[in-house]
């Protein structure tokens, strides 16, 4: 298997490992295909890994773009 094909296959492998039940409701955005679904973490240790750990719990992917979000994605100060 070439490096390129391995790279393309990795997201699919991760998405299977995540064990999404496939019935997760989707909010606003179309259901991401396997290639675009973020990989989950199989052996979480840090906070970021814990909240993104693999699970078969229902997940809802939401494509959200709040109008007031700063261009760099940060939050503006409260009024």
């Amino acid at each position: 298997m070439s490096i390129r094909s391995l790279f393309l296959a990795l997201p699919l492998v991760f998405s299977i490992a995540c064990g999404d039940d496939g019935n997760a409701p989707r909010d606003a955005a179309p259901e991401p295909d396997a290639a675009s679904e973020p990989p989950c973490v199989t052996n979480p240790q840090t906070y970021q890994e814990i909240i993104n750990a693999c699970t078969d719990a229902v997940k809802i992917y939401k494509d959200s773009h709040p109008p007031l979000l700063n261009p760099d994605g940060t939050l503006p100060p409260l009024p």
Partner: protein, 397 residues
């Protein structure tokens, strides 16, 4: 005609005479082994079950008389040793002898009873439903003991009429920090955004998780109780959203929906439970749902009632107590939507702080799961091939 008018007059007078004979309120001091408690209103469902069971706990009967107010008020009052005034109305539960049909799970027959103290009274037990440090920088007085009880998740709930299923950290920041100016559909009507007072755990937990200071939530009149938020959501529109304790939401699932929440840096949104209909709090327990706090229970060293206060607090903390109670405390905790510490796989050190992996001293995950869902754990009677036989299941430690 005169006679008819006279009869009508008598008939109208009878109800007034009946109303005039209002019974004297029950004196709390007449209840056996009464403990006065000042607690957050998210804990009422738990205390109703525990209070009922303790009335009939033959080995150590106790009557819980509880008064609800915001967590920060409870903390400052308990630290200061402040008395509640004589006019305070406490809630308590009937014993089986007093009302055999009372049932916490029967909405038509689960109301609490009321009692009043003989005089101003200093509560024996205090409660906050979040880290005390979220309310005060001051340490607890030397004579106040703090005990972590079950974990309480906090949710954003919407009416059944709402099509929304999830909300992100960023969206919630704009909804509750900017109101309609935040332009997050469908929550663009300030009159339909229902929050709580800034002294409550429900608001403070969300405040710390969203990075919105408690004094920046005054978009709309803040609700004085969880029940008023429930009422507003039930009467709401597609634009309605409200803050609730998960325990309160779990008691009102028939009339509202919970939103899955995507924390900052999280790829997907998750419910507190593994699905919208489950009751397993799996995402709270493993860290996928991030908005939760421990409940903190306080009593005073040197209180002449300390045998009873420790008994009650140890029960709530799901610790072994002597004499053994006539009921299974973990069932009460689990069934009202709380999570005992021994079933948690993550913890945090302060309100809204980052989660880290956690291994309780003695696990009760199998037992907890057997109550709220099904468990894959092996049942046991006295020993296990792997793990420890506890409460009928092979727990891993």
């Amino acid at each position: 005609m005169t006679r008819a008018v006279l009869l009508i007059g008598i008939a109208l007078a009878i109800p007034h005479r009946a109303n005039a004979q209002v019974a004297e309120p029950t004196k709390c001091s007449t209840l056996p082994h009464v403990l006065y408690m000042q607690v957050g209103d998210t804990q009422v469902n738990l205390l109703k079950r525990l209070g009922r069971a303790l009335r009939d706990n033959t080995a150590q009967p106790i009557s819980l008389a509880f008064f609800t107010s915001g967590s920060c008020v409870n903390i400052s009052s308990f630290y200061a040793g402040s008395a509640l005034p004589k006019s305070t109305t406490f809630q308590y539960l009937p014993s089986r002898a007093e009302d055999a049909d009372w049932d916490a799970d029967n909405p038509m027959h689960s109301a609490t009873l009321s009692c009043v103290p003989d005089d101003a009274v200093v509560p024996d037990v205090g409660n906050s439903a979040l880290f005390n440090s979220a309310c005060t920088d001051g340490a607890a007085p030397a004579n106040v003991q703090l005990e972590e009880g079950a974990v309480q998740a906090y949710v954003l709930a919407v009416p059944k009429a709402s099509a929304a299923t999830a909300i992100t950290f960023e969206e919630a920041y704009f909804v509750f920090g900017f109101g309609m100016a935040g332009m997050i559909a469908p929550w663009t009507d300030n009159s339909q955004i229902f929050t709580r007072k800034p002294t409550t755990s429900t608001l403070l937990a969300w405040a710390r998780n969203l990075g919105i200071p408690a004094d920046k939530w005054a978009l709309a009149p803040q609700q004085t109780s969880s029940q008023t938020v429930v009422d507003k959501i039930n009467a709401g529109t597609a634009a309605t959203i409200g803050l609730l304790g998960a325990e309160v939401y779990d008691g009102n699932r028939g009339t509202m929906n919970v939103l899955a929440y995507r924390a900052k840096g999280q790829a997907a949104a998750y419910y507190p439970d593994s699905s919208a209909t489950a009751r397993d709090k799996r995402n709270v327990r493993d860290g996928h749902y991030t908005v939760w706090s421990p409940t903190i229970w306080m009593d005073r060293i040197g209180n002449p009632k300390s045998v009873d206060t420790r008994y009650v607090i140890d029960l709530i903390a799901n610790k072994p107590v002597t004499p053994a109670p006539s009921f299974e405390m973990i069932s009460f905790i689990a069934k009202v939507g709380l999570v005992p510490d021994c079933a948690m796989a993550v913890t945090r050190d302060f309100e809204g702080g980052p989660l880290r992996l956690y291994k309780p001293t003695t696990s009760c995950t199998c037992k907890y799961e057997s109550i709220v869902d099904t468990t894959a754990c092996t049942a046991c009677t006295d020993s296990c091939t792997t793990g420890v036989c506890r409460n009928g299941y092979c727990e891993d430690h």
